[in-house]
Symmetry: C2
Subunit: 257 residues, 2 copies
Amino acid sequence: MATITPPNPHLAELKTDHFYHIGFNTGQDLKKMFGDVRFVLFGGTNTRMKKVAQAVADAFFPLPLGHELTPIGTTDRYHMYKVGQVIAVSHQMGMPSFSILLHEMTKLLAAAQAKDVIYMRIGTSGGVGLPGGSIVVTDLPVNGYLEPYYELVSLGKLHKRPAELDKEVRETILSLKGDLNVVAGHTMSVDCFFEGQGRLDGAICDYSEKDKFDFLKRAAEAGVRNIEMESVMFGAFCKVRIKGLHCCGVEVHSYFA
Amino acid sequence: MATITPPNPHLAELKTDHFYHIGFNTGQDLKKMFGDVRFVLFGGTNTRMKKVAQAVADAFFPLPLGHELTPIGTTDRYHMYKVGQVIAVSHQMGMPSFSILLHEMTKLLAAAQAKDVIYMRIGTSGGVGLPGGSIVVTDLPVNGYLEPYYELVSLGKLHKRPAELDKEVRETILSLKGDLNVVAGHTMSVDCFFEGQGRLDGAICDYSEKDKFDFLKRAAEAGVRNIEMESVMFGAFCKVRIKGLHCCGVEVHSYFA
């Protein structure tokens, strides 16, 4: 089994690494707390991820009488729950917020010597040509140009990082779909809920309904089945191929919880 | 006095406009609830914005004995407080999250017929060549290329929107600085806390310490005094010049609350 190994040689030089936004640091006994983690479930809101953690507990790790789940670490930004080998944590909205969590969670699990961890985003999204309540298992995340790249500006330069999610995890999820309406498809990620997703009801809108539907038709023809605000960054983080890490995106569309 | 008028002709066609992420809609008596609002203070975390609301209450609108502040609307994402004519609300982290709030808040205040409202972001940031605890009043927000543009991808195309903040509000704030270390300066906004801000302690880092300091030197020479993750989108939203709206960015750096 492979331990998570973040590709950053500078980390070895840190005396203590503070994972500020989640409220842990390498001065703690992270191996004891998190060494057993095998799954991290990410999703937008605090309340939804508590429900997810509770569902995992009910199914696999029933709580003793008189116990209840409580968030761990700092709750100023994300809310994180741990149930058995599973972490469920909210990432709030958008790639920048989720990106901070991915960096800190990955360093936390590396310091904890966790092995072969599966990251899964369980998100909400808007569907493209699918009935409400469908579930999209992302086969390829694309950006607002319909290209499978995450654009990151670092030290004044643009980096176009290819995005990809783990095929084996995806095929396992798809094989378990049962009676649910589950499809594989491309997921488009954008940085603006209103203008980025072609909505007509933002505070600012300078395009027509026809412009909107022309673009959505083009997106559908390119294989896009849903639109949200995180997957292409998630796919790029995973595509860096961090040893010991496997990632998958699952999106429930037209359903807000 | 000018009522807020969002530049979107489609809004007039909506029977009810649902401000989903903040938990209000135009079926409510918004004029009664929000018609008096003159200031909206935006900041990152829920706890910090409750402290801000409490400070506004203590200074200007003392609470009667036995009363306490409680968030209004939905608390799944942002936490919003109202004290007299002031709203204090958290926007979480990053431009995409703050952008959703700006769109919905602006439509809410337009529906409430609020007049001449000042939006102010009171954020935390990392300083560039300034002592910790300094306060930067943003004179120009710039992106990761050090250019005053917010890049928005909409309907498959890139839009470079110029960013600008209200000069009159900025000069008023600067004139009130008293004994605090307050400077006017450019604020750089990026989408990644670690690689975007040139940090050496992310899970992924493929540049050297020298690369980092070369870039920070270049940024400082271009007038950048601090780095964060929201201002350039905020400046672009304001630069659209929505009638009845005035915006300003104030950043406290090297201080995390």
